[in-house]
Symmetry: C2
Subunit: 307 residues, 2 copies
């Protein structure tokens, strides 16, 4: 299968400026001008855990597999350059699946200027596995790290949170452009993408930065899908609990000093809203700030990958 | 499992000069000084196809998964910099398998100066999948491509070929140092690694270079393991057939103009032998050159991945 599929793929890919030598040789060669550092990340999705082939069209799975990697580049405020795509495909459906996966992936790659620079297509008797590695360029503003928040920073999020199960978990737009725009215009201290739920990811950002984070719960922007989920099944939690705990929002979680954060919220420089949801604090841990200003512990919720 | 395993892994990794920001953030940041291009490759190994857990210790599997990627970097004459390791692990044995895989991988990474810059550790109910992406630096001599052979070039191979089933398929040394040494000292035209058998890979190099290749069969260096296999099971082919067709030699296949090739063979600048096995020819295809100089078609053998 591989030769025929590769021919098809090469046609789809066309020439890309940053790929000096693309699929076909032992490795790809990427142009990396005007940078002294690259950013790279890998995410692997497996059938039965990250998706069910019975429920989700392969094109959406392929799109998501690339999108989660682009979200990680966005989380570093890096410019996407290239991706490598390794597949383990059920032998019986290999050609059909490979094309469908790429059919979902390629428009997203074009949209964000990502060259599919290489890959490895395998068949076996097991479930579908998609492993993508994305490579990006650090901008002149440096990488946006999660361990640089300061105890007086304000905390910002893009978009609305929760309920991604209803569709956003596959069809989300990785916040690449948004991260680059914010990191270019404002002095951000720390940032990451929200993949395992706001509360858990914020507790990670705080821990990495050796401080704490206090959320003002009434400020958390709740997605319509989170409200829908809460209505559909009240026993699974309130809409706020969905916004705090649901995985796969793929929004940006950012910190900046109060004046900068205020300016961002005032400017609203993105096509999606940017909301201040709280502030970093000196006391390690995750907190909720009550209306009287006092802090109470907030349980990190969300999904622990790999458990 | 992931947090505990990552703690263990971080301890093993230590600090590496080229990793500005390692595992723990959304993506890794790699130093890429003094280069305008990077080389990158990905290889995914699956249980049942590339290895049987019943037969092979996980440490050897982990080592091999990295080694095949380093062999691809060697094939481009690139200096290894970093690798990202994505795993899909059987839930029941996840922690044990992950450690064993890295226990095999880390000494090889240290040996070749490769930083494990990131990864993604997943559990599921399926078989073991290891997907590694390696990133390297192009040297001042540029990448060694497979599509630059000229019709008058001589063809060289490193080491001896065939019979890797008897052990070399797991325990081979990727020819990184060898490729860099040769590409630095001599004007090589084209190169690749021999992963799917000499005949098939040489036919690919010839096709990529839009010319043909003629092998002088009596010059092909036959590994002791190929002779052993031929003795063990004569019906599976002669030792020469093993040398031409067996997969996973991971030796280098190179071309250079005759004077340069002669000099390399005379100099023998590597710890492993370099042998001239034939010459490129204008007529496309794979050929064997008889002792009287005439050409006869030679069937590309070897393993087609993904069939």
């Amino acid at each position: 299968m591989e030769a025929e599929f590769l021919d098809w793929l090469h046609e789809q890919l066309g020439d890309t400026h940053d790929v000096l030598l693309g699929p076909g040789d032992d490795a790809a060669v990427l142009r990396m001008l005007a940078t002294s550092a690259i950013v790279t990340t890998t995410d692997l999705l497996t059938e039965g855990v990250d998706f069910l082939l019975a429920d989700v069209a392969p094109a959406r799975i392929g799109r998501k597999a690339l999108a989660v990697n682009l979200s990680d580049l966005a989380a570093m405020a890096a410019t996407p350059v290239a991706a490598l795509v390794a597949l383990a495909l059920l032998r019986m459906r290999a050609a059909e699946l490979a094309r469908a996966l790429f059919t979902g992936m390629l428009p997203l790659a074009r949209q964000y200027g990502v060259a599919i620079a290489g890959g490895d297509t395998n068949t076996w008797d097991g479930g579908l596995v998609i492993s993508i590695t994305a490579i990006g360029r650090v901008t002149g503003h440096g990488p946006l790290r999660r361990d640089r928040a300061r105890p007086t920073d304000h905390i910002l999020v893009t978009g609305q949170l929760g309920g991604s199960l209803l569709g956003k978990q596959f069809d989300f737009a990785p916040r690449v452009t948004e991260a680059l725009a914010l990191h270019g215009q404002y002095d951000l201290h720390a940032g990451m993408d929200i993949s395992d739920g706001l509360a858990l990811d914020l507790s990670r950002l705080a821990a990495a930065s050796r401080c704490g984070a206090a959320v003002e719960l009434d400020r958390v922007p709740i997605a319509a899908a989170a409200r829908q989920l809460a209505e559909l099944d009240p026993s699974a939690g309130t809409s706020l609990e969905h916004a705090l705990g649901d995985c796969e929002d793929f929004e940006l979680l950012l910190t900046a000093e109060p004046e900068v954060a205020d300016r961002i919220v005032l400017d609203q420089p993105l096509p999606v809203p940017v909301t201040r949801i709280g502030s970093m604090v000196a006391e390690p841990g995750l907190w909720q700030r009550d209306t009287d200003g006092s802090l109470r512990p907030l349980a990190p919720r969300g999904f622990q990958h790999g458990d």
